[in-house]
């Protein structure tokens, strides 16, 4: 479980997070949406420990993240763009990660994401899509309880995007907590149970998708979100 309370973060004069309160539970897919600069990335990076909040608390499975890094054993992360060193081989990256992690790897994933054929290749030899496929595999590799996926399908080829969506669905059924940021309403509609919409560093909508649709009398998710935003 991720529990965020009264989270504040400023970068100079810019307020990135303005008192965010947010909880995510196991077995749900929560989509994080919002315009650029609304605070989605800062919020995700705060959970990962990449951004240090000015105030507030983030608890991951009973552990305050400011007091250690072991909690990241429970998290699988997929960045929006994969930028690995040009000379690094895929197998070397996997070795580094196996060294840092305590949990066992799910080697079936290597086959599922078709990584075997590029295992010995350097990242400099791979296309953007292939690099992103490696990132996707890494997120799931150690069978984490929590998945944080930053626009997971944006750079993937259609086949890999479908594998990714089915992995998200399967992970949800296994009781994992999944936090996905996305700009695509159709994707959110397909994979998420719940939506958290951010504006100016605050979560302005935090509802289950079914609730968003029912409450606005419109079956189209995009229209329902727009109706809700107009009321704010």
């Amino acid at each position: 479980m991720i529990s965020i309370s009264n989270l504040h973060k400023k970068f100079g004069k810019t307020i990135a997070l303005n008192g965010v309160d947010f909880n995510c539970v196991q077995g749900t897919v929560t989509a994080l949406m919002g315009p650029n600069g609304s605070g989605k990335s800062t919020l995700m990076k705060s959970v990962l420990g990449l951004v240090i909040p000015d105030s507030g608390k983030i608890i991951v499975d009973d552990a305050d993240i400011l007091h250690g890094f072991d909690y990241r054993n429970k998290i699988g992360y997929m960045p929006q763009t994969a930028n690995y060193p040009q000379n690094l081989k895929v197998v070397e990256l996997f070795d580094i990660l196996k060294d840092l992690r305590t949990s066992e790897t799910d080697d079936e994933l290597i086959r599922e994401f078709r990584i075997k054929e590029i295992y010995e290749k350097k990242f400099g030899q791979l296309s953007g899509g292939l690099k992103q496929r490696v990132s996707a595999a890494i997120a799931f590799l150690f069978n984490p309880k929590i998945l944080i996926l930053d626009e997971p399908t944006s750079s993937l080829d259609p086949l890999s995007a479908e594998i990714m969506k089915s992995k998200i669905h399967k992970s949800k059924l296994e009781g994992k907590l999944i936090l996905v940021s996305s700009h695509l309403v159709s994707e959110v509609d397909e994979i998420a149970d719940r939506l958290a919409f951010m504006l100016d560093g605050k979560i302005v909508i935090d509802k289950m998708l079914a609730e968003i649709r029912n409450g606005n009398g419109d079956v189209r998710l995009g229209k329902s979100i727009a109706n809700l935003l107009n009321k704010i």
Partner: protein
Amino acid sequence: MSLKILKYVFFDLMRSRFVLTYIGILAFISFGVSYFSNDEMKTVLTLLNIVLFIIPLVSLIFGSIHFYDSGEFTEFLLTQPVSRSSVFRAEYLGLSLALSLAVVAGLLPAVIIDRLSVGNVYLLGISVILTFVFTGLAYLASSMNIEKVRGIGLSIVIWLFMAVIFDIIVILLIYLFRDYPLEKFIIILTSLNPIDLGRILLLLKTDVSALMGFTGASFKNFFGSSIGMLLSIAALFLWVLIPYLLAIRIFRRKNF
């Protein structure tokens, strides 16, 4: 510290074009100087002057470039269960060790031609320590600045100050206050510059007091060579330690 990360950073740099070119240039210079000089001491002193110019420059500029270029991978590593200090240590040591090995390999022709001597050993030792010092300063300058241009700019300013401006200030002070006893003051001032410390350390060992100038002579007279050497080494190690500790402190609080 993750040895896997350290090993990766080290070997990745050792096969990079930049480090191989660095080895090649240093090897060319050291071979040329040794081959055309028939006095071992002159070779060491000539190489010392070159090394004191090149090592700080390369360590600072390349260190900063490497810090920024590996930023996204560093960020990715920090999403894994590993402390920020571990990642920083692995990156810093990997880079410092790779550049140190490059310097040692580059100076090897001089050692082979002139045979292993005390002067050569000190030259290699000082080169390695200076590599660690200026890589630490590069990481400090880069940790302090989010923007690559500003970080590299600060590294260039540090090099200009240490390699050029500092000596101008010392000479100016000596000239302006020539009627006063400045020995102790100059000794303290010298320890504020690792390049001067490195130079004095070697000159004290090679016992060429005629070439030492005012600063070095003061060192020798005041401390005697063995104590002076110990204090110089201690000051150099402080120069390794302080930028590293300051940089790691900033890195631990940095937002990515």
